[in-house]
């Protein structure tokens, strides 16, 4: 697989390139939107959640922004990978290329978007007085876990999408539910203790908690957290790849 990634390097670059060109083709501000979009959304959310709903979270702007950037990445990545196969049906039915290339391109595009939105994220952190810690760099580990996790989820979804076009709509609702179940704009202790297990089972909660710990508080996460996050990530990737590769020969019959 690694060998073919090198072989298809040029193609992958071309296709990622196409995604970007198409996205901003007819807009005046172009690529600037990748940066402006999250920034403006963050400002709205910040205004809503810090004025209308009061809360006592320290460094709330940074807390909220990390939450939204991470969750937006998750929903964008999984959503883009979800449609990757059906979107490219014309190509798949005409040319032979390894099929995992299509989801792979989408995850690359969303990683680029994520990196761009890290710029407004750091601006917000600086503005709200979060200082740079050694652990800030460590948060990269958890971002990567989040990316791998999202890719795995997306692979499962993209396979389902080929056979059932309902997947998209179901996922939209499920995704929203997941968003509210994840402490993005509320503190994690808002939940009664007996519901705590829901949080602990939520991979996104773990990624998010540790990223915040690293960036805002500058504290090293507990050793077990590294293991949890890594197993969530690779568990998801393994399931995703398994389902995807097992069904890929059937895709063409349903496109």
């Amino acid at each position: 697989m690694l060998y073919s990634l090198r072989k298809y390097n040029f193609l992958i670059r071309q296709l990622v390139n196409r995604d970007f060109k198409k996205k901003y083709k007819r807009s005046v501000l172009g690529i600037l939107w990748s940066f402006l979009n999250p920034l403006l959304l963050m400002m709205i959310q910040y205004f809503v959640f810090s004025n209308i709903f009061r809360n006592s979270i320290p460094y709330f702007a940074a807390y909220l922004t990390i939450g939204t950037v991470a969750f937006n990445f998750f929903s964008e990545a999984s959503g883009m990978v979800l449609t990757s196969i059906i979107e490219n049906s014309r190509l798949i039915t005409k040319v032979y290329l390894p099929k995992y290339i299509y989801p792979f391109i989408k995850i690359l595009s969303s990683i680029i978007n994520l990196s761009i939105s890290l710029i407004p994220l750091s601006l917000v952190c600086m503005a709200s007085g979060v200082s740079f810690h050694k652990t800030t760099l460590l948060s990269l580990y958890f971002w990567v876990c989040l990316i791998i996790f999202s890719f795995g989820v997306g692979l499962v979804l993209s396979t389902f999408m080929v056979f059932f076009r309902d997947t998209q709509f179901l996922w939209g609702i499920f995704n929203r539910m997941w968003m509210y179940m994840t402490p993005i704009f509320y503190p994690e202790n808002i939940l009664a203790d007996k519901y705590k297990f829901v949080l602990l089972m939520n991979p996104l909660f773990h990624f998010l908690k540790n990223i915040r710990l690293c960036i805002i508080e500058g504290v090293f996460p507990q050793p077990m957290e590294y293991v949890y996050c890594l197993s969530f990530a690779f568990g998801s990737l393994a399931v995703g790849l398994f389902i995807f590769l097992k069904n890929q020969d059937k895709f063409i019959l349903y496109l």
Partner: protein, 254 residues
Amino acid sequence: MSRIVIDVKNVTMRFHINADKMLSLKEFITRKIKGQIQYFDFVALKNISFSVQRGEIFGLIGHNGAGKSTLLKTIAKILKPTTGEIKTHGKIVPMLELGSGFDGDLTGRENIFLNGAILGYDEKFLIKQYEKIVEFSGLGDFINVPIRNYSSGMLSRLSFSVASMVKPEILIIDEILSVGDADFRVKSRSRMNELMSGGTTVLLVSHDVKTIRETCNRVLWLEHGKIKMIGEAQEVCDAYEAQPAVLQSDIKGE
């Protein structure tokens, strides 16, 4: 180097699909429970064996649904045959159906690179060949226009220009030369001759017996997924055209 570049052995392609191809999840579950999902078996290719030699122009004829495209797709590795095996030697370039590797929002130039990459060419090669491709396509300044504004003739010219720019060992053409104006047809014909003298094997599918007769050395006639006849182009085309009148009108009705 072996003379045989495409070797198809006992290939059968069976589709096992549910009758209404696209079910919603709800329908799927309720019908699965009731045991109502109807699968139908459709055999598109039945035990096909043949081989194509290097440098041959090999034609495929047959009516709609005879399995021509399915056969091409199995050779191009897009479809996996249910049983049997296909061996090919060398790089296969499928001539994409009108712009299927193209993106309407991108310019001709961007599409040359995109399509080239899809067909498996590398970057250096494309940069080197770029001028030649543009020149051959005869698109001139249109190359910097998004291709959604192209006519279908312009699209097929661009498509042929990209696909034929290298010397692929095997070139697969599914109904393409019928498009484009007379000038371009002459040009593409001579380009094909050039390719073939360089040892490229061409697989050509067409409904148009005339094209096949003029271009191909050998022809395979498929009917209902089976080989009806295989042999010299003239011979097979004669037999094909000598079918009963009912079928004839069927062909012309295309």
